[in-house]
Structures are given as C-alpha cells and as structure tokens.
Amino acid sequence: MGAFVVRRLLQAVVLIKCVLVFLFLLLHITGDPVMVMAPEDATEEDIKQITIQMGFDKPLYVQYYRFFSGVIKGDWGESYEHEEPAFGIVMERLPATIQLTAVAFSMSVLIGIPLGCFAALKENQMTDRACMIGAVFGQALPNFWLGLMMILFFSVTLKILPSYGRGTPWHFIMPAFVASSYQMARLARLMRSEMLEVLRQDYILTARSKGLNEKIVLVRHALKNSAIPIVTILGIDLGIMLGGTVIVETVFAWPGVGKLTIDAINTSDFPVVQVAVFVLASVFILINTFVDILYTFLDPRLDFRKV
C-alpha cells in the first residue's frame, strides 16, 4: 500500500516534468523561438536582445538546462504585458479558479446525485423522463453557449444576476452552473443507472423482506453500493472541470487562470501562457493522482500489486 502511494506520487512528478519538456519544446516547434517569445510590436533591436537574454543562440541542451533551473527557482521570465514575473501573476489568479471549480464541483454533486437517485426511484414515470430529457440536453449543450444564453436571460432580460466579474456570492451562480452542467448531467444519468442496477440485486430484496425501513434500505444498502463507480467519475470530472475553466472564465470574464491564459494568448505574452498551462496541468495531474490513491482506500477488492 505504502509502496503504491509512493510509486503513484513518483509517476505524478514524472508527468509534471513531461509538461515542462512539452512547454520547452513547444517554443522550438516552429523553428524560431524568438518569434514566439517576442511581443508583436518588437523591433529588430528587441529581437536581438531577447535572443541573447533567453540564450536562444546557445545549443538546445544548454537552453533546456537554463529553462529548467529557472523553473525550479520559480523564475519563468517576465510577462511582457504586466512587466512583472509571470509566475507571480498566475499564482495571484489561482485562488479565483480554485474557488470557481470547487463551487462548480459541489454543485454537480449536490444536484446531479440526488437527481439521479430520484429518477431511479421513479423509473419510467413522468419525473424520471423529465430528469433524463434534461440530462440529455445538459450533455448536448456546449457550455459556452449555455453561458451566453444564461447571460441573455438572467442579466440582459431579467437583470437579476451579474454577467461578469467576481465578488459577491451572486457572481458564482451562473459560472459555476455552466462549469458543472455537463458533469451534472452525466452524473445524474450514471447515478440513475447505477441505482437501478443495485436496486435489482438480491440483497436489496433481502433487506426489504426483513422489513427494514425503506429509507435505511435506500441509504445504507443501495446508495453505499452504487458509490464506487460514482467516486471514480467524480475524480475524473474534477480534473476536466479545472481544464474547462478556460472556456467558462472567458464567457463570464472571471478573473482566474483560465481567462488569464486566453488573454495572454491574445497579447502574445508567452511566458504567462507557459506558467498558466503548467500550473493548471500540474493541479490536474495532482488531482488525478490523489483520486487514484483515494480510490484504493475505497475499494478493498483492488489488488495493489497489479496497479
């Protein structure tokens, strides 16, 4: 068990290192890293200066060594747009992204799971059908469009919710709902089918025939046994939501790392793009690692030697 945890953590470190190598090579993929690094209005003087400053005239392995040793010290170079260290700018925005993801994740769990259970208990009745039609649409609607339609309805027409920015709890409602919509729908569908599967099992029949209270049967016997596949999906979803914040933050002008990434791309501020992608990718990898480890605690049937 301990060995598994250590191995999984080492894997995560290797994956994060791979992201670094990828970001480094990306600069050289077009053959001319200066053009990627230089701001759009750079003069020939600037380009020469950047070439020397970044060491682009040196061999590739020397450049990689410089890049890597800089990164370890938290030095990713300066942002052209803000003229500050790029790393600091990204870290400043990280709390906003984590907050949004956390709220969206809680929303998908607190709405998706009860909805799925409810639909399963009312199988093939009107409420079940309505829930499932809602879920099908939830999965088909692209989240950026759902966001725009919500702005149109709640901000432009009804004027009851703010369409952009962050500050009050009201600001969370639309971005978090949009960020969680796909996962919420999928969770509801999965929960419904898991619950239906479990409810057909013999031990549920046994529990009921013993004369147990229906509530106890549902919560202690049915819900608990349908939890394992749900937990796996939840872990995957958390990572996907984090990656998806790029789109949601752009729709709602949410001042997080996702929006920062897009802004930096639009202003050709490559150092910031590098750090932002690195930070989000690392958090994504760490979440997946954590979920994997958690999963082995939850499912005693798993054999660690084989993982």
């Binding site: 994956l15 791979c18 950026f144 469009w145 149109l152 984090l242 752009t250 992608v277 990718a281």
Partner: protein, 309 residues
C-alpha cells in the same frame, strides 16, 4: 396495446427470416430498425440536413457571408432592406447571419468528420496490433494511452495552437492525437476476447497467416464498436472545434465558424441577442442529432450494451 405492437415490431426486426422463411438482407433490417426508432430517424435527418447544408452552402445561403454593410449592422431577425430579407438578422459588421450560420456548418462538418475518421482509423489499427500481438508492443501502446490521458487536453491544445498558429489541419490533428486513445482501448479489449474464441483458433489451426486473421477475422468483428464510438464522438468533436473557435483559436477569420460567430456576438450581447442565439442552436441540434444516431447504432450493433443502459 401500443407496447404489444412495439414488441411485435421488435421481434420482426430481430429475427433473421421473414414470414416466408426467406433470409432478410441486413440493409433491410437496418432500415426497418431505423424506422422503428423515432429518435434515430430524427437524428439521421438532422445529420443529413447539416451535411447537405455544408456541401451546398454556396447555393443555399441567400447572401455572401462576408459582405459587410455598416449601415445594416445589428439589424434584428426578419429585417428587410432593398428587397432582401435578413431572416436571422445581421451581425456587428452588417453581415447576413443566416448566410454565416450556413457557411459555418462547413468547418464543423469537416472537423467533425475528419477527426472522427483519422482518430478512428489510428485507434482501430493500433488497438488491433496491441490486442493481437500482446507482449511488449501491447504494454508500450497502452502506457502511451495512459500517458496521453493523464494531461488536460484543452490546455495543451491551446498552447500548441497558440504557438503554431491556428489552421483547419492543425485543429483536426490536435483533436485526433487525443481521441484515438478511446478507440484503441475498446478495440484492444474486443480483440483480446475474440482471440480466445473458436473461430480464431480454427483459423490458426488451418494455417491462416497473422495478416489474414487480422484483416479477415478480427477487423470486421471490431468495426462495430469503432462505428459506435465514432458516431457518439462526432458531436463532441464539433463542440471542441466550436469551443476552440470561441476562444479565438479555431479556424481563423474571415471563414465563418459557429464558435467564431458566438465569440463575436458575445461582445454585443446587450444589443443583439440573435448573434449569440442562432449559431448555438445550430451546434446543439447537430450534437443532439449525432448523439441520437450514436445511441441507436449502439442499440442495433451491440445488444449487450442495450441491456446495461
């Protein structure tokens, strides 16, 4: 009564022989099951309509999608001017929104179809090899799949497109690099189970070559999961492309894309609701259509999955 009729229909579809004991051709079975499932029929009609629109955009669109007229900017749907009717209204540069949405279907369909074809064939071939040969090749390919899946796709795609510069080809390649993994895993699993079956052992024992077994016996039997995943993924690819265009990293302007129109409309959302509404409806309907067809194909081609869902 209704359910009796349905079950009667279903039994007719599933039997391989008609009332005279003649074998029913598979195309006929396929079509009758399509007819029996209303949602699949709707899905097929939607997809065919979108493909038709994309192919014949030039003839269907009432105006030039990039013709600007600042006098006519942001006019509401149904606006009439100079004998022309702007059914979907106009955008901030006075371009006809209906024509732009019609032309926008081209990029969606090209990206959707090609990324499904490329990722599907790569996944199918690598999955076949991985499952059939096993051993080191299998181990390495499956580690590669795990490796690709452990990164946040959208972010790395954004960074790559930012550096290389957005283009239709790059978007298809980037999407395919990530998506072949889904096909490869499923095909490999299917091959592993088929390898144990008697007809493969029989083929081996009569001295059939590996190539013959791969192409003639394994390939046809692994096609159905590939078709199912492909049809279910078509919609997802279209959404990914629209998302990239929305972020300004899709196919560059002036070529209209659904995501691109949405992104332009976002800046004018307080003045012109129609710009952000119609392209989104187009995306959603296309995705719904592809999901409906995918669900139906899954039911027809893989009855085991039907029981589970």
């Amino acid at each position: 009564m209704v359910s009796e009729q349905n079950s009667l229909k279903a039994s007719q579809i599933e039997s391989d022989y008609d009332q005279f004991g003649e074998e029913i051709h598979w195309t006929k079975k396929f079509l009758s099951s399509l007819w029996a499932s209303k949602s699949a029929l709707v899905g097929v009609i939607i997809l065919l309509t979108v493909i038709f629109t994309a192919v014949f955009a030039k003839f269907l669109s009432p105006m030039d999608p990039s013709e600007q007229s600042l006098l006519l900017n942001m006019k509401p749907p149904g606006f009439e001017s100079g004998g022309k009717v702007f059914w979907f209204g106009t955008d901030h540069l006075g371009r006809d929104l209906l024509s732009r949405v019609i032309y926008g279907s081209q990029v969606s369909i090209i990206v959707g179809v090609f990324s499904v074809l490329i990722s599907g064939s790569v996944g199918l071939i690598l999955g076949l090899i991985s499952g059939f040969y096993g051993g080191k090749i299998d181990y390495m390919l499956m580690r590669l799949v795990d490796f690709i899946l452990s990164f946040p796709f959208i972010l790395l795609a954004l960074a790559t497109i930012n550096v290389v510069g957005p283009s239709l080809t790059l978007i298809i390649v980037v999407i395919s690099v990530r998506m072949w993994t889904a096909y490869a895993r499923v095909v490999r699993g299917k091959v592993l189970s088929l390898k144990e079956s008697e007809f493969i052992t029989a083929a081996h024992s009569i001295g059939a070559s590996n190539w013959r077994i791969l192409l003639l016996h394994l390939l046809p039997n692994t096609l159905s999961p590939v078709i199912i995943i492909g049809s279910l993924y078509l919609g997802r690819m279209i959404v990914i492309e629209a998302g990239l265009s929305f972020l300004g990293l899709g196919v560059p302007p002036p070529r209209p894309t659904w995501g691109g129109i949405l992104s332009e409309g976002r800046n004018h959302i307080y003045l012109a609701w129609w710009i952000v509404t119609f392209p989104g409806i187009a995306i959603t309907i296309t995705v719904l259509g592809s999901n409906m067809v995918g669900d139906w194909l899954r039911n027809v081609l893989d009855p085991r999955l039907r029981a589970r869902s």
